[in-house]
């Protein structure tokens, strides 16, 4: 289980020359994702999704609030320990082009402190599950986008984490590649893993997620199951829910 408690991240941005303004990219967000749950993070561009996910993954230190993770035997403390239990992937976590998928998996496995025999066994498993056999020994800079994305996912899997954090994992993929990733997430959920992921594809989120957290300008707008959200807002689908909730917010902000 992973819980965000009142998370705040403040950045300074230079507005004009020598004039700096502080703003909260993430402004007091709290939510949690249980074992065996897929939580979808929705929000317009610049809502603070990536910053939030980076803080959850331990890549960024929050300005305020805290992330607590319970995995395996209990509460996880310390950034390095946290990273051992999280598999994080985003558009910014690219892979070394001069290595093959198998080499990448071996390298990451070794740094996670796994035994060589375990790494080999797990690598074969992953390659089978993600159907990577054809290209597992080719250099990554010679692979197609879908193949690279599958390799990226395999990289998160090697240390068998309890929590997955994916930032737009299906972005720019064809239907075949993205459904492979969706199937994978569902399968992990069945195994009792926690998945938090962000996306702009509403249908996909509706199909996959047990719960939807919508954020806008660093704040949580709603946090409920897709069905409840549709009922509450009287909408046909998630796309409508999104437009109603977010557009409301934008309009009220414009009126102020």
């Amino acid at each position: 289980m992973i819980r965000a408690k009142n998370l705040v991240k403040t950045f300074t941005k230079t507005v004009q020359k020598n004039k700096k303004v502080e703003f909260n990219a993430v402004d007091g967000i709290s939510f949690e994702a249980e074992k065996g749950e897929i939580v979808g993070l929705l929000g317009p561009n610049g809502a603070g999704k990536t910053t939030l996910l980076r803080m959850l993954a331990g890549l960024m230190t929050p300005t305020g609030g805290e992330v607590s993770v319970t995995a395996g035997s209990g509460e996880i403390t310390g950034n390095e320990e946290l990273k051992r239990h999280i598999g994080y992937m985003s558009a910014n976590t690219k892979l070394y082009g001069r290595f093959s998928a198998r080499e990448i998996l071996k390298f990451y496995g070794q740094v996670y402190g796994m035994e060589d025999a375990d790494i080999d066994r797990r690598t074969d498993e992953i390659i089978k599950v993600l159907n990577m056999g054809k290209f597992a020994d080719n250099r990554i800079d010679r692979l197609s986008t879908g193949q690279v994305q599958r390799t990226s996912i395999s990289r998160c899997l090697i240390h068998d984490p309890e929590i997955y954090i994916f930032d737009e994992p299906t972005l720019g993929l064809d239907i075949l590649s993205s459904s492979a990733i969706i199937d994978f997430m569902l399968a992990e959920k069945e195994k009792g893993k926690t998945v938090i992921y962000s996306t702009h594809y509403m249908e996909e989120a509706e199909y996959l997620c047990d719960r939807i957290v919508m954020i806008h300008e660093g704040k949580v707008v709603c946090n409920d199951s897709p069905d409840n959200l549709k009922k509450e807002t009287g909408s046909q689908n998630l796309r409508e829910v999104f437009r109603k909730l977010i557009e409301n917010k934008m309009e009220s902000a414009a009126n102020e």
């Binding site: 950045f11 980076r54 993954a57 890549l59 960024m60 230190t61 390095e80 320990e81 946290l82 990273k83 051992r84 999280i86 994080y88 985003s90 910014n92 976590t93 690219k94 892979l95 070394y96 082009g97 001069r98 290595f99 080499e103 390298f107 990451y108 070794q110 740094v111 996670y112 402190g113 990289r155």
Partner: protein, 685 residues
């Protein structure tokens, strides 16, 4: 620790593999030293050969003669004679250049002369006239035209020859002895430098700069690629998801880039040796090196000694480069950051070309310049071990500082997500430091070179000024004071750092016995090394010591024996050994401490003797679990040396060098260590 070491190894191998699969890096690493440099040298050699072989030069000389004292034909003959060189051995003749000699009936004006030289119709125009008793020769030429000024030199030589002939004739006419009259003083040069020294001097001008530059070039690409390149390719965030501290990532990167530099430097040295070897053989075959015989094996020791220098240089460069490149977002941006850094480093590398820059202790702390001059001195057979140590220490210190800075940068999210311009504080805030930690290897890596640097720079000054009292002042102030200040700031557990643990009186007795034994062992070892290798004691060093001993014995014992026993023990068996003992195998930590201790004494012979001593003292701390027995042992060794130096006769010293004393000494050491170990065991129960 083992686990961390394994992770570090994995990271390092990953970076290394990444670089080795990068064709650009391989090109820089191999192409420059193996192909480009030799080609430059051979090319420039060929050009000079072509220029030297040019025998078709013809000098056009025109004369207007209205003098009766000097015959123009005479001048022509001498000019043409000078153009032919006769080999003294076989009498064969060789035409060096041609002379076309014209006698003009009319004067040529200066403007006309200029035009003719410009059109290559003329090189020198001479006007010869009488002026009373003397003959006046005016030669017109153009300094800016190469052939014209060369022709001018030939004319000058011919005129001097004629002039000499006339003087000689006159002297003879006056009935004097021409030889003693014209050459009252004979002068003969005799160069004493060996051929190796001359070759070393020439190599010393070029080779250091070449080596330093080749390291610079080969380190640059991986430094940029592994930092800014990684950021550009977007793999940095992936890497930072790993549960490892930024420190390991940074060290793996710096070591990888440094390794590239070391490989290049070695390739460079090998390829240049081949080039010089071939050149030398060719010169020998063409008979230009008659009587010169260079024993190249005499340079091997210099090359071996420069090996550690190459390593620290490569490390320094990669660490410094990365400090700049890690803030760039792309390879291109990093390249532009690198240009000013490169300029400065290249300028410093040219130091070896300037013969007036000497390697004193101040130059020795200027990075890159120190290395360049040190390599030159090594090739000139002028290597000073104290300076070598100073250079190594200062370079290591700068590298450690740069790596510290870098690991801060890699732990900071500013580097990853921000614009990277926000300041990164080098040292941890004091409020964030945990209290009572023991000393780490990182701390020791920083403190040891820093302390040694300050000690070599200022300690020697203090010792020169205050003589006997200078030793305790400098040792306590620098070797003890500086680390202590650091530890107080870092809230370290002083007792743990220095192993100030209680010990049984019996283990103190063990320390005394070990010390006495160690003295014999060191003395015998020194004697054996002196006899086998011919290395002798540095005379300056023993003079200072004798100077010390002319003082009161008690004062000498206090200053020369007691001070180092406390101060040096605290630095070496305290800080350095504490840092190592839990993290490295005992054998390795003892070895490292004794090498550092040996280096500290700045003398080749003493390196071995004090190194052995350092090992024994280390074992005393290791078995005793406290620093006091080893302090006592150190004090025993020093005070016996002091008393021996003052009172012992030559005969006594010779007797001491009998092998039996070595065996007794070794026995005493074993017994002493046994006592120390046993009494420690009892106290722990």
């Amino acid at each position: 620790m083992n686990n961390k070491l394994k992770i570090f190894k994995t990271l390092f191998l990953k970076e290394l593999r990444d670089v080795l699969r990068d064709k650009k890096a391989i090109m820089m690493m191999v192409l420059v030293p193996v192909v480009v440099y030799p080609l430059i040298v051979l090319g420039s050699l060929m050009v000079t050969n072509i220029l030297a072989d040019d025998k078709d030069t013809t000098y056009d000389i025109t004369v207007y003669n209205e003098s009766t004292g000097l015959d123009a034909r005479n001048l022509e003959n001498i000019l043409k004679e000078n153009a032919v060189e006769t080999n003294e051995e076989d009498g064969s003749k060789e035409q060096l250049y041609n002379v076309v000699f014209n006698v003009s009936d009319t004067k040529i004006s200066e403007d006309q002369c200029k035009d003719m030289i410009g059109d290559k119709n003329l090189d020198v125009y001479l006007e010869i006239a009488d002026n009373g008793e003397k003959v006046e020769v005016k030669a017109f030429y153009m300094e800016s035209v190469n052939e014209s000024s060369e022709a001018m030199d030939k004319v000058r030589r011919a005129v001097d020859d004629i002039s000499d002939g006339i003087v000689e004739e006159n002297v003879e006419k006056a009935g004097l002895d021409t030889d003693s009259f014209l050459n009252p003083i004979s002068f003969e040069k005799k160069g004493l430098s060996s051929s190796e020294q001359i070759a070393g001097q020439i190599l010393g001008m070029i080779l250091p700069m070449m080596i330093v530059l080749s390291i610079l070039i080969s380190v640059m690409h991986p430094s940029i690629d592994l930092t800014a390149g990684e950021k550009e390719r977007g793999t940095l965030e992936t890497l930072l998801m790993l549960p490892v501290s930024g420190k390991y990532i940074v060290m793996a990167k710096t070591l990888t880039a440094a390794l590239c530099g070391v490989v290049t430097a070695i390739l460079n040295i090998l390829s240049m040796s081949v080039v010089f070897g071939v050149m030398f053989e060719q010169l020998k075959a063409s008979g230009m090196m008659d009587g010169v015989n260079i024993d190249f094996s005499s340079f091997i020791s210099a090359m071996l000694l420069t090996f550690p220098v190459i390593i620290v240089t490569a490390l320094f460069m990669s660490a410094i480069f990365m400090c700049f490149t890690c803030f760039a977002k792309s390879y291109k941006e990093a390249n532009s950051y690198m240009s000013p850094v490169m300029m400065v480093l290249m300028f410093l590398a040219y130091g070896s070309m300037i013969p007036t820059v000497e390697l004193n202790q101040y130059v020795a702390v200027v990075p890159v310049l120190n290395v360049s001059i040190l390599l030159r001195d090594a090739l000139n057979f002028k290597l000073d071990y104290a300076i070598l140590l100073l250079v190594l220490c200062s370079m290591v210190l700068y590298s450690v500082l740069a790596i510290l800075f870098l690991s801060k940068a890699y732990n900071s999210e500013n580097l990853l997500f921000g614009d990277g311009k926000n300041a990164i504080s080098l040292f941890e805030k004091r409020s964030n430091i945990k209290k009572g930690m023991s000393v780490t290897i990182g701390d020791a890596c920083f403190i040891y070179p820093f302390v040694i640097l300050v000690y070599l720079l200022f300690g020697t000054l203090i010792q020169a000024k205050y003589e006997l009292v200078g030793l305790p002042i400098s040792q306590f102030l620098i070797l003890v004071g500086i680390p202590l200040a650091f530890f107080v700031y870092a809230k370290k557990d002083i007792k743990k750092v220095y192993s100030f643990n209680k010990c049984k009186p019996l283990s103190l007795v063990g320390g005394v016995i070990t010390g006495i034994g160690a003295f014999f062992v060191a003395a015998i070892l020194g004697d054996i090394i002196m006899k086998v290798t011919g290395i002798t004691v540095n005379e300056g060093l023993s003079d200072t010591l004798t100077g010390f001993f002319s003082h009161n014995v008690i004062a000498a014992v206090l200053c020369v024996a007691l001070t180092p026993a406390i101060a040096e023990e605290m630095l070496f068996r305290g800080i350095v050994f504490s840092a190592l003992k839990d993290k490295v195998k005992p054998v390795c930590s003892v070895l490292i401490v004794s090498v550092l201790f040996g280096l500290f004494h700045m003398d080749l012979l003493k390196f071995f003797t004090t190194g052995a001593l350092g090992a024994i003292l280390c074992l005393t701390v290791y078995f005793g679990g406290s620093i006091f027995p080893s302090m006592l042992a150190h004090f025993m060794v020093n005070s016996i040396s002091v008393i021996m130096a003052k009172y012992a006769t030559e005969q006594m010293i010779n007797t001491l060098n009998e092998p039996i004393f070595g065996i007794i000494g070794f026995g005493l050491v074993v017994i002493g260590l046994f006592i120390v170990k046993n009494s420690n065991k009892k106290s722990s129960f």
